[in-house]
Amino acid sequence: MEESKKKKLAMYLSIAMVFAMLMGPGPGLRLVNPDIESASPNLTVGGLPIIYLWGLFWFAVQVIIVVVAYYTVWNEQDKVVG
């Protein structure tokens, strides 16, 4: 892969990782957080806590980002640093 394309991909992957952090354990949690003030809050989906499922989903996203980085941008050679 060309160096400029690699740099661009590395930047996109970094942004994607930050986004996954913002969504998974970050403010994105508010999108799925059960409203416990309501009469019958939806705390689970298919028996699993919604918050836990949300975590599993963003874990999968993070792993995909790391695997893509592993095969594309993490291939620096051990040349001497000036």
């Binding site: 990782m17 354990p25 970050g26 918050i51 874990f59």
Partner: protein
């Protein structure tokens, strides 16, 4: 507190523990036989660690008693929200390559041993910056060692019958760890980390599966979890502490802060190649997060179902069978010890004992790495620079060994005094102590990113940024509250800040601001001076 258990473990824990400790000492001795008597070999194992050793030693250093006792304890106390703390692990894994590969290359070329070697070489080697970087390492390493020794005591208390088991357990963990680091250096630490890494991956996963099995399998487990209090299944959790903003700042900065702490930094130097770190990063990301999300975090949730929290006195207290106020950390040990034999009979006894040993492995693997790094910092950055420059390599290695001995005994005393005294409690809940240590080490992040990628900062900016960050973390820490008194206005302000974002994030804010502003001012002034000189 004294607890009643249904099952008699007999001599099984003693036999397993004895075998495990003997193996560690054997590896320590083997490392000594294989090593050379120079400083680089003692601290970096000849810079030749392969991918398996690198991956496992980085994982074992990252995993501490925080992972095996603190994290399930926090899930037990706060509910499912803290399980998402596991999402800091993939980011930490990515840092193994993103930061590690560059640190490795520069370190190998210039023969660096400690983080301060590289930082001072980049920014200019003034004493102030070196001392400050060394202090940062010290502020991370000491609480982490204390935390691990405390965990050893907690485990011994649960595993063995008799008086003073806490103190005896803490002493055994400390001294065995101290001996194998002293004799074998990094080589012994890394090899023991391999055994400990395998043990703790096993322990985390089996503990999770065991808790699910205790509650009747996957269906029964989630049925029990679904019936927990609503606050346990939502954000910000039962204590109201884990708002999404708080969780995000802890996850984001803790993950990166943990990966620039001195012991990890030295592991990057010790790797054989960047490919080694590349493979380590992938293994770290996938294996560790699975261990958290599908293993250890389930213990905290299942623990809440088995031992409901006590909300009767206004706050949140653990179930009486788990421990007294604040002893949420013991949930894993209590669940395994009380329920695994019931489920699996004698196999359960063996598994429960093995998992307890794996907790000890987690504690020892982090304690050894931090003691070893602390020894490198104090020897290379303080003794060699300011006390006796020009000392022989052999002398420096022996100074390093003496530091390991002194730091171990001091940390052990802190743990024992805190445990036995009703007035002095220097050691709080394991997880809180760990998060504070990470907040200190994360202050190295701005200068690390600047040094490796941005390259715009100046020495003055780096120095004042780090100083400002450390001071901010200190002012928001419980230590500062003890010094100034809990009723003071500054403490109320600090409490408000701490309720919004993690302490480390506030420190990083001040740190980055000072680094950028002072670097700009210094560069501008230098530019003006050069212009005057040229004219």
């Amino acid at each position: 507190m004294e607890q009643q258990f249904t099952y008699d473990y007999g001599n099984l824990p003693y036999i397993l523990l004895f075998g495990y400790l003997l193996m560690l000492l054997g590896l320590g001795f083997y490392g000594y036989r294989k090593g050379k008597s120079n400083e680089e070999d003692y601290y970096l194992a000849g810079r030749n660690q392969g991918w398996l050793v690198s991956a496992l030693t980085i994982m074992a250093t990252f995993f501490s008693s925080f992972a095996l006792l603190g994290a399930p304890g926090m899930v037990y106390r706060d509910g499912v929200v803290f399980a998402l703390f596991a999402l800091n692990v993939p980011l930490a894994g990515a840092m193994v390559y993103v930061l590690g590969s560059k640190i490795y290359k520069i370190g190998k070329e210039k023969g660096f041993v400690t983080p301060a070697d590289m930082i001072c070489d980049h920014y200019g080697g003034k004493a102030g910056l070196r001392l400050l970087v060394a202090l940062t390492g010290f502020l991370y390493a000491v609480p982490y060692v204390v935390m691990q020794i405390q965990a050893g005591g907690i485990l011994a208390e649960q595993l063995f019958v008799g008086d003073n088991t806490f103190v005896v357990g803490a002493i055994i963990l400390s001294f065995i760890t101290m001996i194998y680091i002293m004799i074998g250096g990094m080589r012994s630490v890394a090899w023991t980390d391999v055994i400990q890494g395998i043990l703790l991956v096993f322990g985390m996963l089996v503990a999770g599966f065991a808790t699910v099995a205790v509650l009747g399998g996957v269906g029964g487990f989630f049925e029990a979890v679904a019936s927990l209090p609503e606050t346990s299944l939502s954000v910000p959790g039962t204590t109201g502490h884990w708002t999404p903003e708080m969780l995000f700042t802890v996850c984001f900065f803790a993950s990166m802060g943990s990966m620039v702490q001195p012991a990890q930094w030295m592991r990057y130097y010790a790797a054989r190649s960047t490919q080694t770190l590349r493979q380590s990063a992938l293994i770290f990301t996938i294996v560790l997060t699975i261990c958290f999300l599908f293993g250890i975090m389930l213990v905290g949730l299942g623990g809440q179902a088995l031992y409901p929290l006590d909300f009767s006195q206004g706050g949140v207290l653990p179930h009486a069978a788990v421990g007294g106020a604040g002893q949420f950390d013991q949930i894993l040990v209590v669940v395994l010890r009380n329920h695994l034999p019931e489920l699996l009979g004698s196999v359960g006894l063996v598994l429960a004992s093995l998992i307890m040993i794996s907790i000890m492995a987690a504690a020892m693997s982090t304690a050894d790495s931090n003691l070893h790094a602390l020894s490198a910092i104090l020897t290379r950055d303080i003794y060699d620079r300011f006390i006796k420059p020009g000392a022989s390599q052999q002398t420096r290695t022996w100074v390093g060994r003496s530091i390991i001995c002194f730091a171990t005994i001091l940390s052990l005393l802190v743990v024992i005094v805190s445990r036995t005294s009703n007035e002095v409690n220097l050691v709080g809940m394991i997880a809180q102590l760990g998060l504070m240590a990470i907040a200190f080490s994360s202050q190295l992040l701005p200068m690390t990113f600047d040094m490796l990628y941005i390259k715009k900062g100046t020495r003055e900016g780096a120095f004042w940024g780090l100083l400002g960050g450390l001071a901010t973390v200190f002012m928001l820490s419980p230590m500062f509250q003890i010094i100034t008194g809990s009723g003071s206005g500054i403490n109320e302000f600090a409490s408000t800040l701490k309720s919004i974002f993690d302490v480390g994030a506030w420190g990083l804010g001040v740190n980055c601001l000072l680094l950028v502003v002072i670097s700009l001012v210094v560069k501008r002034r230098r530019g003006e001076e050069e212009a005057v000189t040229a004219s």
